[in-house]
């Protein structure tokens, strides 16, 4: 048990230290979400009027929770690419031949990446007052919890893929094929109500949809009428937790099979 927590903890800390030592990663991590949000939000804002949830708000406001999830997604992707790189740099091989349970390795990696995602999420959260999203202490706390679970799920999904990959190139193609569409079709970019019916169905079976809905509900805790027609908190919580758990155990399984 001691080895489990020491190992997970030390791998978590390593992710953070590595991040802080790479200035380009810090700049990219902070600059990118704000840039995306401003460019896409103001660009679409004129031509694109979302119906349904957030109809009364401008697109900049609608897109804001979506960007929060995108930040988490990108951080998760970035951190999981690091797993593939670790194998190239051989750091992971030494961990694999140490008496460390594979689940501790995956847990440390997932928590490390989730922490980084949260860190960025908080920075973007500080921009909320300019978007019209009515933040309160309670909604920030709730949003933090939701972002943590979304982060953990997406990171675990990324890790499940990364532990099977031989090269970063392979990971990029899977990322474009799976992870980005997952985000685009989660209600982060446009609401299900304004989408073509078949797309609406895809969005309904996308587990991330429920994470995004839950995040919107948390952010609009003070104005529940804005998010009234989104999936409820109960089902969103359940689906996000199931999604995260399945991803995590898949990652552990792949890690157990890995030869480093």
């Amino acid at each position: 048990m001691i080895v489990f927590f020491l190992s997970a903890g030390t791998l978590w800390k390593r992710e953070i230290v590595r991040f802080l030592r790479q200035r380009s990663r810090i700049i990219g991590a902070l600059g990118q979400p704000i840039l995306f949000w401003l460019l896409l939000g103001s660009g679409f804002g004129e031509s694109f009027r979302p119906s349904g949830a957030g109809a009364s708000a401008g697109y900049l406001e609608y897109f804001y929770p979506g960007i929060l999830v995108m930040v988490i997604l990108f951080t998760a992707i970035f951190a999981t690419i690091a797993v593939v790189e670790d194998r190239k740099e051989r750091f992971l091989q030494a961990v694999l031949v140490a008496p460390v349970p594979r689940s501790a390795i995956v847990l440390g990696q997932a928590l490390g990446a989730t922490t980084l995602a949260l860190l960025q999420g908080f920075i973007l959260l500080a921009a909320a007052p300019w978007t019209g999203v009515p933040l309160t202490a309670a909604s920030v706390a709730a949003a933090a919890g939701v972002m943590f679970l979304i982060g953990f799920s997406l990171t675990s999904l990324g890790l499940a893929i990364a532990w099977r990959m031989e090269s970063t190139q392979g990971f990029h193609s899977i990322m474009n094929l799976v992870l980005l569409p997952l985000w685009i079709l989660s209600g982060a970019v446009f609401p299900a109500a304004s989408a073509h019916p078949w797309l609406g169905w895809v969005m309904k079976i996308n587990p991330l949809t429920y994470g995004v809905a839950w995040l919107r509900r948390a952010l609009y805790a003070a104005q529940p009428e804005v998010v009234a027609d989104l999936p409820g908190v109960g089902i969103s919580l359940a689906i996000t937790i199931v999604f995260g758990s399945i991803s995590f155990f898949m990652a552990v399984r792949h890690a157990e099979k890995s030869e480093g």
């Binding site: 903890g9 030390t10 390593r14 091989q93 030494a94 031949v97 030869e259």
Partner: protein, 320 residues
């Protein structure tokens, strides 16, 4: 730990598709020995190393480390082994000491004691001044030293090292060998290393020569070399094939052509050379002779030159 050999390899077999990497090999390493696995790349060394370090499961057979199976009891094996990878398994963005501390945690070490033991090792390996430097700033030789110090942190009973001398200059190679000797003498650590350097194998207590998935020879370096009768003569000539035949006809001497030169194993070589030069004037461009080396043992057992074998098998790099 008494009662069991440090390492017992039993009928180990593994293939990549049609390519047989290990053809069912057996050998033992006693506690406290320094044992080299000498062979060309592609001979099966890397596969064997991956199986011994529990990174890969063999398709057949087993290996026991202090009595524990790498197949069915990998977790227990991992507590007993230290591993030195060919590419040091260091995080370049962490300092030398941080790399050590992280590694200690994986073995349940922690706190003040872990820090002290890590520093003691860094001092012992002359790395004290570099403890706070990122490992990406260290030279290849220094990185290898950190890798060794790191592997020794949990005080393993068996150290497995994969080509530890590759990429080191001759000075660093000698130094690394001395460190392994000291380690064995002071801590009694058993050391199993793979190598394609004859000198490195020569310095170990026993050598297993591995080629095309078989152990072709095993024993003390001295014994192996003595098993070749006499001395080795290499004759450079423009017509190796014809000279080889003539030597056979005239002197009844086996003289195979290896790598474009005629190669003879014979006692009292200097007398024989004089006879050859007399008998076939103008055919001998130059010759050399000397006591047999481990390379000669390899050639005798496989009929191939070690360096030739090196070039012919790049496939294991992809597999590795």
């Amino acid at each position: 730990m008494t009662g069991f050999p440090a390492l017992a390899v039993e009928g180990l077999r593994h293939a990549y598709g049609d390519r047989l990497a290990l053809a069912g090999i057996d050998f033992q390493v006693d506690s406290g020995e320094i044992f080299s696995l000498l062979g060309p790349n592609g001979g099966g060394k890397t596969t064997l190393f991956k199986i011994l370090t529990t990174l890969m499961k063999p398709q057949g057979g087993d290996a026991r480390i202090f009595g524990r199976s790498v197949v069915s009891d990998a977790a227990a094996v991992r507590e007993n082994i230290g591993v030195v990878f060919q590419e040091p398994s260091l995080d370049p963005k962490l300092t030398t000491l941080e790399n050590m501390i992280h590694h200690g945690h994986f073995f349940g070490m922690r706190g003040r004691q872990l820090r002290d033991e890590a520093m003691t090792l860094l001092v012992a390996f002359g790395l004290k001044d570099r403890a706070g430097d990122l490992t990406e700033t260290l030279s290849g030789g220094l990185r290898r030293r950190v890798e060794l110090a790191k592997a020794l942190l949990p005080d393993p009973d068996l150290l497995l090292a994969d080509e530890p001398s590759t990429g080191l200059d001759p000075g660093a190679r000698l130094e690394f060998a001395a460190q392994l000797q000291r380690l064995r003498n002071e801590r009694g650590t058993t050391i199993v290393l793979t190598t394609h350097f004859m000198e490195e194998a020569d310095r170990s207590d026993r050598v297993g020569i591995i080629d095309e998935g078989h152990i072709v020879a095993i024993g003390r370096p001295g014994e192996l070399k003595e098993s070749i009768g006499g001395e080795i003569v290499i004759i450079q000539t423009n017509y190796p094939e014809s000279l080889s035949e003539k030597l056979n006809d005239r002197f009844g001497q086996e003289a195979p052509v290896v790598d474009g030169s005629v190669r003879i194993e014979i006692p009292r070589a200097h007398e024989f050379i004089a006879k050859v030069v007399d008998a076939f004037p103008g055919e001998v461009d130059s010759f050399s002779f000397g006591r047999p080396t481990l390379e000669d043992v390899f050639i005798q057992k496989t009929g191939r030159n070690f360096r030739g074998a090196l070039e012919k098998a790049p496939w294991e790099e992809n597999a590795g």
